[in-house]
C-alpha cells in the first residue's frame, strides 16, 4: 500500500493530498491515507474525497510512504510522519517542487531522520506542483451525443452568457461547465441549474474526465492542480482539447491542444465544422501527443514500484446489480416506494440490494431484500454531514459491483452524488414532487446532473403535478402506491380478530396514522382523538406507528384507544371505517387507491412536501375531511362528521366512483430497467414514456 501524506499543514495541502490520492487510486495503485494525520476543520469536499482512503496505521512492512508537496515539509508534519515509520526503516518517496539542490538535500535528510533511510525524490517538473503531473485515461463511456465541457469560461458579460445558453440548446452536444464555486453560484442564482455546472472540488478529475469528450479551456489552468489533473486525464483518454485562452498559451505549450475561438459565440460553429467530424482522428493525435506521453502515470508508478495495474479496462461496470438507496424522512415513505418498485423489477441473476437507514431495515427485509444499514444524523456528530461521510464509504463499497443506483429522496446527499460519479453508475432519482414553494431545492436540482433518469411519481390529482426540471431524462409515472384488495369477508374477519385481540367489541373502527412526533408534536391531536373515542362504546381506535417509533405517554392509558406498531398500516387502514392521518404521499394515495375514507391533518414542516395542498385537493372534491394541525375543534368536528354524520359513507361512495391515474409502480420499474440494461429492456417490455 502507498500511505500518502502531504508535506504541508494548510487546508490547501490537504486539498492537494486528496487530489493526489484520488488520481493515484484511479491509476490502479493501492493508495491510502493515515486517518490519524488528518486534521479537523477540512472543507467538506476534501473530507469526502479523503474518506474512502482513510486507514488506521501503522503500515505493514513493505508499504511505502509517499509525501507530496515535500518541498513544504514542516516539523509538525514530520512529527506526524513518525507514526508511519517502521521499526526497521520504511521506503519513502518524496515528490515536490524542489527549486534548489539544498531543497532536495534537506528533505532527504529530514525524512531520513523519521524513516531510517533516505527517500527517493522526484521533482515535480515545470508545472511546479506538489507532484509530477500525471493522468489516468478514463474508461470510455458511450454517450448519445458528444459531451462538451467548458473550463473556466468568463460568463460575466451578457453576450457570453447568452452564447452559453444558445450552445446548451444544441441538439448535437451535451454542454457542461467547470468553474470555481463563486462563478457557479452566481450563474445558478441568475440562470438556474439547467446547464450542468461543476465546481472544481465537487468531483474528482477522474470522475469528471469520464463524462467529457471535448474540453475547451478558457482560463489558464497552470496554477490549478485539479484542472491540470483533469486535462492530463483527458489527454490520456484522447478527448479533444481546445485552447481558447488568450494568446493560445495552452496550444503553444502543448501539442495536445488545438486552437479554438476565444469567444463562446464562435465556439458552436467551430465545433460543428472542425471538431465533430474529426473526433476520432483528433483522439488518436491527442493520445499520441508528447503532452500525453509526459503525463502517463507509468513513470510515477514505476518510481513508486507500484504493482502492475490490472490489464482489464472496464468500459462498463462489472455487475448488473441495482442498488436502491431510500433516504428516510419523517416516516418510511421513501423506503416503501422503493420496495414497491424493486418488487416490480423483472427477476435478475443479482437481485436488487438496499442501503438504508436502520429504521427502514425491517420494512425492506420484510419484502425480501437485503439491506446494508446506513448511519443517521446524530447530535453526537460534530459536523452535520459526518454521518454522510460514513454512509459514503459504505455506499461506495456496496456499489463496487453495481450498475445502477436508484435514489429516493428529496435532498441528494454528497454520498449519493459522489458514488454515482465515482463508481460510474447509472443514476435514477425517484423524485416525489409537491415541494413547498418556500423550500430551497437548489442543491438537489444542481445534483440532478449526475442522474441518467429522474422518475417523478405522479400525484393523483393533476393540478398537484409540477415540473421542477425538464429534459428527456425526466419521466412522470402514475402514483407509486401499494394497492390492497380486502374483500368484505376478509375485512370482517380482520375486524373480528381485532375486537378479540383487544377485548373491545366495536362497530366502528378508526385508525389514526399521524406519525411518531418527529416532524411535529402530535400530542394534542392524539389526546383530542383519544378523548373523543373515550366517550363512546362503539369504537375501537387504533393508533398506528412504525415499529421504530418511541411511544409517548399521552398515547397510553385510554380505554378505547390502542397503540399498534406495524409496517402493515395499509391493511389495518383498509379494514377501518375511516382513518385520520397526515397527507404524506404514500398514506394519501393508499387511502385514495384503496378507497378508504380519511380525515387529513397535514404535516406542515417547512422541509416537507406540501401536504396541505394534497389534503385540500381531496377535501375539495368531497373525498376526505381536512383539519389544520392547530385546529383541534375542527378536527373534532370532522371526526364527528365521519363517525356520526355519514361523511365516511359519503366519502367511501365517492371514492368508489373516483377515476384515478393508473399506478406507476410497474412503469417506474421498467424505466429503471431501461436505464440499467439499455434500450434492449424496452424491447422486452415496452414502456410508454412521457417526457415531463
Amino acid at each position: 500500500m502507498f500511505w500518502c501524506e502531504t508535506g504541508g499543514e494548510t487546508p490547501r495541502d490537504y486539498d492537494a493530498l486528496a487530489l493526489f490520492v484520488a488520481q493515484l487510486a484511479a491509476a490502479g495503485a493501492p493508495a491510502v491515507v493515515d486517518s490519524r494525520g488528518v486534521p479537523d476543520g477540512l472543507s467538506r469536499y476534501v473530507q469526502f474525497e479523503l474518506a474512502p482512503y482513510l486507514r488506521e496505521g501503522p503500515p505493514e512492512g513493505r508499504d511505502t510512504v509517499v509525501v507530496v508537496g515535500a518541498h513544504r515539509l514542516t516539523d509538525g508534519r514530520l512529527a506526524r510522519l513518525r507514526r508511519l515509520a517502521g521499526p526497521s526503516g520504511r521506503r519513502v518517496v518524496a515528490l515536490g517542487a524542489f527549486e534548489t539542490r539544498q531543497a532536495v538535500t534537506g528533505v532527504k535528510a529530514r525524512l531520513s531522520y523519521v524513516f531510517g533511510q533516505d527517500p527517493v525524490t522526484r521533482e515535480s517538473g515545470e508545472e511546479g506542483g506538489d507532484w509530477p503531473d500525471f493522468g489516468v485515461a478514463p474508461r470510455v463511456d458511450t454517450a448519445a451525443r458528444p459531451r462538451l465541457l467548458l473550463l473556466a469560461p468568463d460568463l460575466g458579460e451578457r453576450a457570453q452568457a447568452s452564447a452559453l445558453m444558445a450552445l446548451a440548446l444544441s441538439p448535437r452536444l451535451d454542454v457542461a461547465v467547470l468553474t470555481d464555486g463563486k462563478s457557479k453560484q452566481e450563474w445558478q442564482a441568475a440562470h438556474g441549474a439547467e446547464i450542468p455546472f461543476y465546481q472544481f472540488a465537487e468531483a474528482t478529475p477522474a470522475s469528471l474526465a469520464a463524462r467529457i469528450d471535448i474540453c475547451v479551456a478558457f482560463g489558464s489552468f497552470a496554477q490549478n492542480p485539479r484542472a491540470r489533473a483533469l486535462i492530463a486525464n483527458l489527454a490520456l483518454g484522447g478527448a479533444t482539447l481546445i485552447d481558447a485562452t488568450p494568446g493560445h498559451a495552452g496550444a503553444r505549450a502543448s501539442d495536445a491542444f488545438v486552437r479554438g475561438p476565444l469567444d463562446l459565440l464562435a465556439l458552436g460553429p467551430f465545433i460543428s465544422a472542425e471538431i465533430l467530424p474529426n473526433l476520432r482522428r483528433i483522439a488518436e493525435r491527442v493520445r499520441g501527443s508528447r503532452f500525453a506521453a509526459a503525463r502517463d502515470a507509468g513513470s510515477l508508478l514505476r518510481l513508486l514500484e507500484a504493482p502492475a495495474r490490472p490489464s482489464r479496462r472496464r468500459s462498463e461496470p462489472v455487475g448488473g446489480r441495482i442498488l436502491f438507496n431510500p433516504t428516510n424522512g419523517v416516516g418510511l415513505g421513501h423506503a416503501q416506494r422503493c420496495v414497491l418498485v424493486a418488487g416490480a423489477l423483472a427477476s435478475a441473476p443479482e437481485p436488487p440490494v438496499f442501503a438504508a437507514f436502520p429504521s427502514c431495515s425491517r420494512l425492506i427485509k420484510a419484502h425480501g431484500f437485503d439491506v446494508m444499514p446506513l448511519i443517521g444524523r446524530s447530535g453526537q456528530h460534530t459536523q452535520s454531514h459526518e454521518n454522510d461521510l460514513a454512509n459514503y464509504v459504505r455506499l461506495r463499497a456496496l456499489a463496487r459491483d453495481a450498475r445502477t443506483l436508484v435514489f429516493d429522496g428529496g435532498y441528494v446527499f454528497d454520498s449519493v452524488y459522489r458514488v454515482i460519479l465515482e463508481r460510474r453508475l447509472r443514476g435514477v432519482w425517484i423524485r416525489r414532487g409537491l415541494w413547498q414553494a418556500s423550500q430551497d431545492n437548489s442543491v438537489a436540482l444542481d445534483r440532478e446532473k449526475v442522474f441518467d433518469r429522474v422518475i417523478v411519481p405522479g400525484e393523483a390529482f393533476e393540478e398537484l403535478n409540477e415540473t421542477y426540471s425538464r429534459g428527456d431524462h425526466v419521466r412522470l409515472v402514475g402514483p407509486i402506491v401499494q394497492r390492497l384488495t380486502l374483500d368484505p369477508a376478509r375485512r370482517a374477519d380482520l375486524r373480528a380478530r381485532l375486537a378479540e385481540r383487544f377485548g373491545l367489541p366495536f362497530e366502528r373502527l378508526v385508525v389514526t396514522l399521524l406519525g411518531a412526533g418527529v416532524a411535529a408534536d402530535r400530542g394534542a391531536q392524539l389526546q383530542a382523538l383519544c378523548g373523543m373515542m373515550e366517550r363512546r362504546t362503539d369504537v375501537l381506535h387504533l393508533i398506528l406507528v412504525w415499529p421504530t417509533a418511541v411511544l409517548q405517554p399521552v398515547w397510553l392509558g385510554w380505554s378505547r384507544s390502542r397503540v399498534v406498531k406495524t409496517h402493515s398500516a395499509g391493511v389495518l387502514a383498509a379494514a377501518a371505517d375511516f382513518c385520520v392521518g397526515a397527507a404524506g404521499y404514500n398514506f394519501f394515495h393508499e387511502t385514495l387507491y384503496n378507497r378508504v375514507p380519511a380525515v387529513f391533518v397535514p404535516q406542515t414542516g417547512s422541509y416537507m412536501d406540501d401536504q396541505r395542498a394534497r389534503a385540500r385537493a381531496a377535501h375539495d372534491r368531497g373525498l376526505a375531511g381536512l383539519a389544520e394541525p392547530s385546529a383541534l375543534m375542527v378536527l373534532e368536528r370532522e371526526v364527528g362528521r365521519f363517525l356520526d354524520g355519514g361523511a365516511a359513507e359519503q366519502a367511501r361512495t365517492r371514492l368508489a366512483a373516483l377515476e384515478l391515474p393508473a399506478p406507476g409502480v410497474e412503469r417506474a420499474a421498467r424505466l429503471i430497467e431501461e436505464v440499467s440494461n439499455g434500450p434492449a429492456a424496452l424491447e422486452r417490455d415496452p414502456v410508454a414514456d412521457y417526457p415531463a
Partner: protein, 375 residues
Amino acid sequence: MNAPTSAGDPAASAPRLAWAAPRVARRMTLVLDPRFPGGTAAAVAAEIRALSGAFDLAVVALETAMFKGREVNPHLAEALAATGVDMAWQPAVIHADTVVLHNPACLKFERAPLPRISCQRAFVVTHENFLRPNGAEGFDVAGCLARIETSLVAGRRWLAPVSDWNRSGVASWLSAGIDSGWRLADFDWANICDFDLAPPTATPRDRRGRHSRPGFEKFPSRETMLRHFPARAERCVLLGADGFLDDPEWVPRHWTALRFGEMDVASFLGEIDFFVYFTNPMWRESFGRVIVEAIAAGKLVITDPGTAATFGEAVVASDGGDVDAIIARFLAEPERYQAFVRSAQASLARFGPESFVRTIRAGIERSGVEADVLV
C-alpha cells in the same frame, strides 16, 4: 628594509637584494552569522575570547536567510562586549590576513551575494558535517562553498574540520568531487570547552538523562529512546524533548520530558548521573559539545562509537543495546564510576583555550604564504 644604493658606488651595478622578513599574519577576521543557536555559538564565543589576545581580531556578521528574524546569540554578544572586539554587519568588503568563515551550512538558503573577501588565507570551519553516516550530503555543500568562492579572493583556502568524524566527512566529500581548490587543513578547528569541573558523585544512581536541541536529527527512534530510558531506571530526564511533547502519546509516564530551555542545563545535569546520548542514526554530531558539558559536570557519558571517537576514553562507546548493562556495572562499582569520570575530565584540557590558540597559531603558520617577498 635596506636603504637603496648610491649611483656612484662601484657595487651599484650589482643591486643588493634582500629577503623581506617574514610578516606575522596578525590580522584575523571571523565571519559568521551571530544569530545561530546552540553549542556552536558558545564555542565561537569562547573562540573570540581566546583569539582576541593572540590576533588583531575583527568579527563580521552575516545576515543569512537561515537565521532570519533571530536575535544575536547572547554568548556571542557577551564575548564581544568582554573583549571589545568590533562586529561589523555585512560590510561591502572584508580584508584581513586570515579570514575564518564559520559554518558554511548557514548559507544553504542564501540567495544574496556575500561581502567581497580578500585575504591571504581563508579557513572555512565546517561545523556541520558534510556527510551523514550513510554517506549522503548533509546539506548542499557545493552550493554553499560556491557562494563563498564567488566572493573570495584568497591565496589559499582551507576547509577546517572540528573533529575526526567531521574531518573524515570533509575528506570524503573532497575526494568524491572535482578539484575545487579547497584544501583540507591538517589541524582541527576544535570547539573550545572551558567548563568548570564538578566532582563526580561517590554514590551514583540509575538516574539517566539527555539534553540537546529538539531537532529530529538529535533523537533516535522512539523504540530506541524507550530502551535507553526504560521504566526500570530510577529517573529519566529529557531536556529538549519538544518533538515528543508535541505528540503526548509519545511520552511515557516515567519520563520527565522538558522542552528546550525549560530548565537550565546545570540544574538538569544535577538531576542525573548518566548522560545517555544517542542521536538519530542517520545523523551525527560533528563535535558534541553537550557531551563535554556533561563530563565537566561530573557525569558519565554513554554514546555511540562514532560520536565517542572525538572524545577517546572520556566516554563509554555503546551500540545502544547494552546501555542498561553498562549502567549496571558502574552502579555496582561506584569507585570505578568516579575514576572514569575524573579521567574523562582530565582529558578535557585538550579542548581548552590555550590548546586551541596554540593549534590555530601553528596551523596558520604552517599554512604559509603564497610567495616569499624579495625587495
